[in-house]
């Protein structure tokens, strides 16, 4: 199964399932990243982590650990 980490830079994908622990899931889903949402990987921080996603009309930054548990369909 592909995760956010498998999306090439500046490419879009659609969220299939949000994994991770409850507080992470709740937070990111309440910010609009839910199954069916199209997201795009905008960039990676200079030190390699975290990454930035375009979600709906905003930009959200999450760590790679947590990005790896968000499944997507490319």
């Amino acid at each position: 199964m592909a995760s956010i980490l498998d999306i090439p830079r500046n490419q879009s994908a659609v969220v299939r399932h949000v994994g991770g622990d409850r507080s992470f899931r709740r937070r990111i889903m309440e910010m609009g990243l839910i199954p069916g949402t199209a997201i795009r990987v905008v960039g990676v921080a200079p030190l390699g982590d975290p990454i930035t996603l375009a979600v709906r009309c905003g930009r959200i930054s999450i760590r790679k650990d947590e990005a790896s548990v968000v499944e997507v369909v490319t």
Partner: protein, 710 residues
């Protein structure tokens, strides 16, 4: 009868321009209180509305959702439901960012589920331009008033006031849900509703809040055990129920609201700027230059102003002394009161500067990028990415740095940062280092070109950076309230926006004002107490005359500074002098004598005062600084009673290490007391740093002696 003004809450996602709306509506005149249990300001300001006496507007901290995990996040729900003895608002004004419509409307749906009067303040309509939704249509779909605003241009404010006035006259609407709970969720909600505390509204929305917020790992306060028992759900079982609510709301937003946005808002400008500012090379370079500039401004730029303030207070003190008769009262007014007030005012330049910069960084959107850029580095010490600026500022002065920890929303992050900031090499340590290095470290070159004295100074900075990071690492792994939990790092990178100057200045003045009134009071009282410790008891006339006789008898013929020697004698007789002598058994294992002990006590007023106190102790008066050759000579010449040298280079290094690690600064403790609103944290800070300083100094001194260095 004079009925109280209606309470209206102002709330919204972070970065939706809520502060600008608040300032525009209330003129920033607010009564500031505190939310019980958390160190977050509760601001209520009066605002005018047409056809009434106005309303009280409550500023609720920005949040994406009412669901909470921590005490800080819980503020929103408490404010909205009026829990803990506070009045609930009659109406909620929600700031909704027109450039990020669906996400910022999510919380509006939560309010509608509670059945609250809601007015939507649609902000940033100028920025959204063509992608802003039609307010009428949006209003029709949501079933509440929508007022478009461009608050920084003061457009739409009258419309908002009118909408609030009208809505307050409407009936309170019934709860309105845009999705239907499944039978499983339905039965769970019914069960929880039964166990809600009596003062909470008994409705489905409150039950849903409890279901989504209460869990095994939450840090909520005031949740009764009966409610916990009713919720009793493990994370796995909670997952489908959380999903149902969140997805249910967003499905509605996607089908009903999304079509109102004609085209996606233009993010090109922000994307372009980000390409530069979070780029691996240019991003880090610009970051370094920005941080360096802020640091230089605090470190060097504030210096002339600080000197001027010190001069003014010295001048006022001298003026008062010359008009009042020589008396204990005059000494109190000049050396206790005026000097104490001076010790507070002297922090203002750096506080104003730092909060001005923080305001610019926050409102431009760059602050979120700092957290993004620094997260990888800072999290190895379990620190928040936003802790970077406070810690950097600590190298100028710990007091503004501790106040700057407010940019972090979680208490644990703030406190951990506050606990390590005083370990950074603040500028007040430099006079001590300079004096000791110049007096005791030979001015030779290593390998023919590297000056030892300069290396020593660099070494002290290196030592401070390592100890700061190490202590953060250790504290975050040992102390329960500071322990790093698996906290999700989900931050928004908001669009870059032009900072609104008025808002930045208002915030800056507010912070400076609260420093003067809260921390300032403690510092003045502390300064006076310290003055008394160094001043009392006065030697009796008999003791003084016998001291003079003795001095005359021992006259070696060399020119003597009698006045300076007398001040030294008085200090020796004071409580501080006696305390120093009493402390000698604790200090001698570090190679310090009682005179250094007195200096350490005096340094509690501010570390650099150590230099002046040593001047008095050594009988050459307090009017010395680290450059005074006489003080340096005197230090080198100082002998123990057995004739051995007091200040060996090893003692000098040990003393520097002691000052690097000890929390020898009451203003720092006052600032921590102010920011944590507790006595426990400043006490812990002082305690752990003093013990650490003693232990490390002991190891350095005794280790050095074993190696034959002392």
């Amino acid at each position: 009868m004079n009925s109280p003004l209606p309470l209206v809450a102002l709330i919204g996602n972070p970065n939706t321009g809520k502060t600008t709306v608040w300032n525009a509506l209330t003129g920033n005149h607010a009564q500031v209180g505190n939310y019980p249990g958390v160190t977050v300001e509760r601001r209520v300001g009066w605002m005018a509305i047409p056809g009434g006496n106005g309303v009280n507007l409550l500023d609720v901290p920005g949040t994406y959702s009412l669901v909470a995990r921590t005490g800080e996040e819980q503020i929103a729900i408490k404010a909205v439901l009026g829990l803990q003895g506070q009045l609930g608002p009659e109406l909620v004004v929600v700031c909704v960012d027109a450039t990020n419509l669906e996400r910022s409307l999510y919380i509006v749906l939560q309010f509608l589920e509670f059945g609250m009067r809601v007015v939507v303040a649609l902000t940033m309509v100028d920025e959204a331009a063509a992608s802003a939704p039609d307010p009428e249509k949006l209003s029709a779909r949501l079933g509440c008033k929508v007022v478009p605003l461009a608050a920084h241009r003061r457009q739409g404010l009258d419309g908002l006031r009118a909408a609030i006035a009208t809505a307050l006259k409407d009936d309170v609407p019934p709860p309105s849900w845009r999705w239907s709970p499944s039978p499983i969720l339905r039965s769970k909600l019914d069960l929880i509703t039964e166990s809600l505390p009596a003062e909470w509204p008994k409705n489905d929305a409150t039950a849903l809040w409890a279901l989504m917020s209460v869990g095994a790992e939450d840090e909520l306060v005031g949740i009764p055990p009966a409610l916990r028992a009713a919720v009793a759900i493990d994370d796995k079982a909670a997952q489908p129920l959380d999903d149902e609510a969140i997805i249910g709301r967003y499905r509605w937003l996607d089908t009903e609201i999304h079509p109102l946005v004609a085209k996606p808002p233009d993010r090109l400008r922000t994307e372009r700027i980000d390409r530069l500012l979070i780029h691996p090379v240019s991003g880090l370079m610009i970051f370094a230059v920005l941080m360096f500039s802020i640091f230089q401004a605090l470190f060097l730029g504030a210096d002339p102003i600080i000197t001027a303030i010190e001069d003014v207070f010295a001048w006022v003190g001298a003026g008062v002394r010359s008009t009042l008769p020589v008396s204990m009262f005059t000494d109190f007014v000049v050396d206790g009161l005026i000097a104490g007030v001076g010790a507070v005012v002297v922090f203002l330049p750096q506080i104003l500067m730092l909060f001005f910069f923080l305001g610019l960084l926050e409102s431009s959107g760059y602050m979120a990028r700092i957290a993004f850029l620094m997260d990888r580095l800072m999290r190895t010490m379990n620190l928040h990415g936003r802790a970077f600026i406070p810690m950097l500022s600590g190298f100028a002065c710990a007091v503004p740095a501790i106040m700057a920890t407010r940019t972090m929303e979680r208490k644990r992050d703030r406190i951990l940062t506050m606990m390590v900031i005083p370990l950074t090499t603040c500028s007040a340590r430099l006079p001590i280092y300079t004096l000791l290095i110049a007096s005791l470290i030979p001015a030779t070159l290593v390998g023919g070109w590297l000056p030892v004295q300069g290396l020593m100074m660099v070494g002290m900075y290196g030592f401070s950076i390592v100890s700061t990071l190490l202590v953060a690492w250790v504290l975050s792994r040992t102390l329960r309230p500071l322990r790093a939990k698996r906290l999700p790092f989900v931050i928004e990178l908001p669009p870059y926006r032009m900072p609104i100057f008025g808002d930045v200045v208002r915030m800056m003045l507010r912070r400076a004002g609260s420093f003067l009134t809260d921390a300032g009071r403690i510092i003045v009282v502390g300064s006076i107490a310290l003055w008394a410790l160094l001043y009392f008891p006065r030697p009796s006339p008999e003791a003084l005359s016998s001291w003079r006789t003795e001095l005359a008898a021992n006259d070696t013929g060399a020119p003597e500074d009698v006045e300076g020697l007398e001040r030294g004698f008085r200090l020796e007789q004071s409580y501080a002098g006696r305390l120093g002598q009493a402390m000698e058994p604790v200090l001698s294992p570090l190679g310090f004598d009682w005179k250094i002990g007195v200096g350490i006590i005096g340094a509690f007023a501010a570390r650099e005062v150590f230099v002046a106190t040593m001047g008095v102790v050594y009988g050459i008066g307090g009017d010395v600084d680290e450059q005074t050759p006489r003080l340096r000579d005197r230090i080198r010449a100082e002998r123990h009673r057995d004739g051995s040298v007091v200040y060996t280079p090893l003692v000098g290094i040990t003393l520097m290490i002691f000052f690097a690690l000890a929390c020898q600064c009451m203003s720092t403790l006052a600032a921590v007391r102010r920011e944590t609103r507790s006595l426990a944290w400043p006490t812990f800070l002082f305690g752990y740093m003093t013990i650490l300083a003693w232990v490390v100094s002991f190891a350095v001194y005794q280790g050095g002696r074993m190696l034959g260095l002392g």
